[in-house]
Point group: C2
Chain length 336, copies 2
DNA sequence: CTTGAAAATTGGAACGGTCCAACAAAGCGT
DNA sequence: ACGCTTTGTTGGACCGTTCCAATTTTCAAG
């Protein structure tokens, strides 16, 4: 239909008032006479007027927008965290601009760059890698919070994560309690989170006097990585009876690997994952796991961000939540 | 550090040139003398200058941004489609602004509203519901394409989907070929896509002379919905030997329901899903399904969008892709 | 040198809003 | 009717860019 979109000026002309008044009215100011307000409303509707966010954000010098970088959209836990972030961001009257990262650091950096050009007032990073460009963002005065990764010394950067070391220990504790001794670990790569889960595993094994049983197989935070690592574990000369897999997505791959070897879960091999993704709760998967409170982590992260927006100078905050063991069907007692 | 962010003016002052020249240089024009370009670059770096997208988009009268509305971020197929969309959007030099929808129509509409205020140049809707607000968007001159839902008569709206009726028929064909006769269907709600899959099922059943065996159980496009519907199917007096579930996510729930009844898949019950989500391919799930080419649908959708952006007047295009049967472990021959 | 064309640079007017100080109108007590 | 406050309304400057016409500089040819 349209030609150029109607502006505030067009509305003003039609309603027979000044553009300033329209501006006030559109934002619901109470200084506008009811009659004028009505006239303006009807003029706006008639023209199909819609405020121009670019102009507004230019004049305001604020965008009312929070940028979200999701490093791995394919991991279902991302969706769960995003839900929480969105809920909180919306509740605060802001909007969300979401971009996806990738293994390609340069691309990821350019995505952050874009967010900053849009003058986002804050940045939420969901993932375990520290993206190039985040430092720039922060020193460029953009409050940032990172989820699922602990970070405490960088000024202007808050973080929220669970205690991966404790969580990994819980996994081993639980398996040990079931009688397992030859407990393998399939790793999640060399990012900080994966490394902490690995240390937790090693520490726990050592504390049970099982140092010699420590066996790490290289995996990744993907289904494929879990499959690969677990296949290697099963093919090894050690007779592992249980595998602690670095995250749930990989653990689903691990289940596949076990099945492919013709072994039964949990009769012959117990599998425990990490994260607590909702999908793992389905009976057809039934994955025992160390769960993080994903949605509330998202909410808390956004809350943290708004606190920092209101008080930019404050010291970095790191919230660390306790993970919790969720027992399902992929683990069972050891019968040698 | 910062105080107010540096603007093009600050860069100009430092480099000793006019702001116009900086503007040119920042966009890589070849009309700028190499010496000036270098001076400007270095001034920009020194100040940490970053263009203001709001100002640019205001002056340009274009945002260089495509809005994406994802109705169900929790369905893993969304991530796969998004990947495709992003790839194509990036390749065209645009950016992506992603928002999530929800069951709440009002909220969804307001999200679209936001995208439009941001002057997005196009809109991609991923999902099977037609969101309130999309019509406004289109009549407001915003090119739109909708993915996974067929739509062909609305001017300005392109769509891309697979042929759900054919796909559903394929599912029944395959199960029939395996010897199944008492084939149940767990529905995906009352959205258009779910209804088409249901019709395809019914048509196929009728064409095999199995009209009396038609049995639909109410489900939803969620794991929980699949669980519920399948549980009902198994509890019914009909001795179903196979279930065609409306989508993969629900089919995973269906697998759980079958397991909970202590039945074996595929020995006693065959399950077939729809969509072809990557997760279903894992051996631990091993879901037989009717697959759509998700990533390429995303790419094609974005491509369609750009075509319409360049030629707004053209007639609505609907691309319909053929689904394809992917056989895995959740289906087997009937042995009555 | 001069000259004209090409190359490089510039100032100022948009873009569509918000904000502010100033002004007009209306209400009110006396 | 009188100031005085309160309530409504307005024009114009400004936000940080891009664009354009106009200007200055450079340079090769005569």
């Amino acid at each position: 239909m349209a030609g150029p979109r109607p502006t505030i000026k067009d509305v003003a002309a039609l309603a027979g008032v000044s553009k300033s008044l329209v501006s006030l009215a559109m934002r619901g100011s109470d200084r506008v006479a009811p009659a004028s307000a009505a006239a303006i409303q009807s003029a706006a509707n008639q023209l199909g007027y819609r405020p121009n966010a670019a102009a507004r954000s230019l004049a305001d010098r604020r965008s009312n927008t929070i940028g979200v970088l999701v490093q791995d959209l394919h991991n279902p836990i991302s969706a769960e965290i995003i839900d929480g972030v969105q809920r909180q961001v919306r509740a605060s009257g802001y909007h969300t601009m979401l971009v996806t990262g990738s293994e390609d650091a340069a691309l990821e950096q350019s995505e952050i760059e874009k967010l900053l050009e849009f003058q986002v007032e804050g940045l939420v990073v969901i993932g375990h890698r520290m993206p190039a460009g985040v430092r720039d963002a922060i020193t460029g005065d953009c409050p940032t919070v990172i989820i699922t990764r602990a970070e405490s010394e960088i000024a202007g950067l808050d973080s929220i994560s669970n205690n991966d070391i404790v969580g990994a220990r819980m996994a081993v504790d639980y398996l040990h309690g079931l009688g397992h001794r030859a407990i393998a670990h399939v790793t999640g790569g060399d990012n900080q989170v994966a490394l902490m889960r690995k240390s937790g595993y090693e520490e726990a094994m050592i504390s049970y006097g099982l140092a010699k049983n420590i066996a790490c197989y290289e995996g990744a935070f993907t289904d494929e990585g879990g499959y690969r690592g677990t296949s290697a574990a099963l093919a090894s000369k050690y007779q592992h009876s249980a595998v602690f897999v670095a995250n749930d997505l990989a653990a689903v791959g691990a289940l596949a690997a076990v099945a492919d070897q013709g072994l039964g879960v949990p009769e012959e091999i117990s599998i425990i994952g990490y994260d607590g993704m909702a999908l793992g709760g389905l009976r057809s998967i039934g994955l025992t796991t160390i769960a993080q409170p994903l949605a509330s982590m998202g909410e808390d992260a956004a809350a943290l961000l708004f606190q920092r927006i209101n008080d930019p100078g404050r010291l970095p905050v790191h919230i660390e939540l306790e993970p919790r063991l969720v027992i399902r069907n992929s683990t069972g007692v050891y019968h040698g």
